[in-house]
Amino acid sequence: MTPLLEITGLDIRFATPDGEVHAVKNVSLSIGSGECVGVVGESGSGKSQLFLGAFGLLAANGRASGSVRFRSREILGTSQKQLNAIRGGAVTMIFQDPLTALTPHMTVGRQIMEALILHRHVTRAEATQRTQEMLEHVRIPEAARRMKQYPHELSGGMRQRVMIAIAAITGPDLLIADEPTTALDVTVQAQILEILKALRAEQNTAIALVSHDMGVIASIADRVAVMRRGEIVEAGEARQIFHAPQHDYTKMLLAAVPRLDRDSGPRSNHGETLLAVEDIHVAFPIKSGLFEKTRKLKAVDGVSFTLRQGETLGVVGESGSGKSTLARAVLKLLPAGSGRVVWMGRDLNDADRREIRALRGDMQIVFQDPLASLDPRMPVGRSIAEPLKSLRPELSRDAANTQVKAMMAQVGLDPSWINRYPHELSGGQNQRVGIARAMIVSPRLVVCDEAVSALDVSIQAEIVGLIGALQRNSGLSLLFISHDLAVVRRLCHRVMVLYLGRVVEMADADALYNDPRHPYTRALLSAVLTPDPDIERSRKRVLLSGDVPSPLDPRAQLRFLPSRLSGGPDYYRPKLLEVAQGHFVAEYDEAQDTRSTL
């Protein structure tokens, strides 16, 4: 049987002012009817351009050559008209970042039925009917109302479900999903993947799944192609790729992925209590209009914890959990509304600005986006030296330079790059610069705010290793903030799970991962994907229905404690209970309907 899509010897080149970029090199790939093929690769591997190029969707400066046959017909180089007959009907696409991928000034209902009317020639009334059914099918509640809304009125997870509805409504033969779950929270990612699997089972749609995430690929793909720098380095059955990889790059990628089922945390060696945070609150005023009342967004709503010398505390939460705000409040980069931060016995509420500036030498931070956290007009050496110069002004220029070079060597940067600029370095190298800048003043506490989240897995593994090594060598404490439970597992002694600005569970890492108590923690852990097709396909998942509610809704925190919802305007706050030595869990209702098992 001939395959549905057959790509042979595809080359894609982009003409740029700085010369030609060869993004995809001689790639061949086929997808059979009803089959799911995963294309995995790191940034710059050309995995997204591959399918955009195959279906004539490249940017204006891109050119594709080779052969692309869809249902045995050559489509590369055919007219736009012929391509348009295929695109959106027999072949549909889902893109990353559903906010920018949906037209902002058109209701989602119209955007869904557009393709249906064009390709399936149905009447408007029938299209409306089928659109509503489709929205219900991708589990959007109140479909009739949602159809009349604009993309910005929906949450991220719901927008991606709208994208899926657009792609699925014409009953395509092939659905191309380009990073469909990237930038979504893990619990939402799990829901989206379930919907894709269901579509495939019901409509026998072939799926081309493009992702950087080995876990996502493992959960659904039958066959896998691994791409690096525009080339497929290895392709084969999913089980073979994941269990017996041949190519070194594939082996390296698989080894770099942090895994909950294999990794274990570091041994604890606790010292004195360094930092104590007591019932801290941070709220932001949200103005909704000229005449409306200013509401308060409670980003952090009563969090307490302690951190000991040499300890790593993981702070885990999805978007809107307040984890980054918490970090900034602890570092006094943001004013806290109430509560205390006690640093080595000193209450920082009493400290004046000079004292806090002096304390910056003890507390440092590493940011998420390595490029954004470095001044683009400052050589990296000067960026690293900056805290040193402002906190130890007595240091001579030469002495500072020597220290900077030594620190660069320590974080694995070539010290001769001291005059390089951030745009000349890669993401991983820039993150090393960020770490060097934090470490140069020999701090006692470093906050890592999603410090490895924006990096490719292979780089991520290196940086995680570097952070761990720096900690072991200097005995510093870490506050490691991340949405990625598997990365946290590798580094942290203790873990705190945040939900809408409050702690729902806090325990030693082993206790939390082996014996999660709170339903939210369980859902989070259950949503983490393992790069192993056998495990992924056999296990049952605890799915949360719907999205993370808005932190502006005072009832949101009672999602897991609906029995207390009757409390009136001053809603009840779930209390933290100590269920075992050092294992704290927020109150929740045992049996509840917000959970469902699929």
């Binding site: 002012p17 900034r328 570092l331 980069l333 500036r357 002096a358 910056r360 030498g361 507390m363 440092q364 931070i365 940011f367 998420q368 986006d369 954004a372 956290s373 470095l374 001044d375 683009p376 007009r377 400052m378 050589p379 990296v380 050496g381 960026s383 900056e386 805290p387 402002s390 906190l391 020597t402 070079k405 060597a409 694995g412 940067l413 070539d414 010290p415 001769s416 790059w417 001291i418 005059n419 390089r420 600029y421 745009h423 000349e424 190298q429 960020g434 800048r437 003043v441 290196e462």
Partner: protein
């Protein structure tokens, strides 16, 4: 991974690799933009001619010669009633040398352009930076004021000012500058606000850098680009405004002159003495073209994604 094994040897590190700053990248891109580079050269030539104007002609710019009233240049191709030998651009209605007057007009127009732009730059940067840096309610009030001023028919205010204060030249500079600062303030504020929220500024704060250090080392160097672009595009706008006022008789007064005055005179005698319109108009158009090309070139060079 980077080779770190050899880096222990500190002596080997004496020669640090020189990085390429964004400024140098921008300069390289600008150099490749032929329109912008030609404009810079042409503008420099015009400015030089204007500066050296008194030395370039034997005639004074206000030297009247009643024997050569509205006479064509000697090389004028079409027929003319009289020819003014030695006057390369011909003469005006009272026999003054047009070449010299066009150059003096250039002096005036360029001076107004630069001074008024400087005034707008000073007010705009101070105002915009204050609003952007302080933020919050103060920012709201300050920008609301700018919004209101934006909706004013500002040219009428300049006209009223010029009428009231007897066409004072200094006032002309200040009045135009005081009007043009609004956009500058908006741009600077926008830059200040977006930069203030950048992670590298937060990183500097976390590194204990003082407020002044953040402004001078991080905010200003990063805000300079868009401001420079806007300055380049403001100068031609100001020159146009000045010539507009002069055309209405509200700007520069005789015997001083500017391109606006010359064009106004030329337009009146367009049929009988077209050279009186063509030369000042041409020079002004070329100058404005140059500024616009340089501004566009700078923008492309500093922000290459918009190509």
């Amino acid at each position: 991974m980077i080779a770190t094994g050899s880096t222990q040897n500190a002596e080997a590190l004496v020669r640090a690799v020189q990085g390429r700053s964004l400024w140098r990248d921008a300069w390289e891109r600008l150099k490749r933009n032929r329109a912008a580079m030609a404009s810079i050269a042409l503008l420099a030539l015009i400015a030089l001619l204007a500066l050296l104007a008194p030395l370039l002609s034997p005639y004074g710019f206000s030297e009247v010669n009643y024997d050569l009233i509205t006479c064509a240049p000697p090389w004028w191709p079409a027929g003319a009633e009289c020819i003014a030998p030695g006057h390369v651009f011909g003469t005006d209605a009272v026999g003054r040398d047009l070449f010299e007057r066009v150059l003096y007009g250039a002096r005036m127009s360029l001076a107004v352009g630069l001074v008024a732009t400087l005034v707008s730059l000073l007010i705009g940067v101070a105002y915009g930076a204050t609003a952007g840096y302080l933020g919050g309610r103060i920012d709201d009030v300050m920008m609301r004021l700018v919004d209101i001023l934006y909706s004013l028919p500002f040219i009428f205010f300049v006209i009223i000012l010029m009428v009231m204060f007897d066409r004072n030249l200094l006032l002309l500079f200040v009045a135009i500058g005081a009007v043009e600062w609004l956009t500058m303030a908006r741009i600077v504020r926008g830059q200040a606000i977006s930069l203030k929220q950048k992670e590298f500024v937060e990183a500097a704060r976390a590194g204990g850098v003082s407020g002044g250090g953040i402004i001078f080392r991080h905010i200003i160097p990063n805000a300079v680009g868009p401001v420079v672009v806007y300055v380049t595009l403001t100068v031609p706008g100001v020159i146009l405004t000045e010539s507009f006022l002069s055309f209405l008789g509200l700007g520069v007064q005789e015997p001083l002159t500017s391109w606006g005055v010359l064009i106004s005179d030329g337009a009146n005698q367009m049929q009988s003495a077209p050279w009186m319109l063509i030369f000042p108009a041409l020079l002004m158009a070329v100058t404005l073209f140059c500024f616009n090309f340089i501004g566009d070139g700078l923008r492309d060079a500093l922000d290459p994604r918009d190509r």
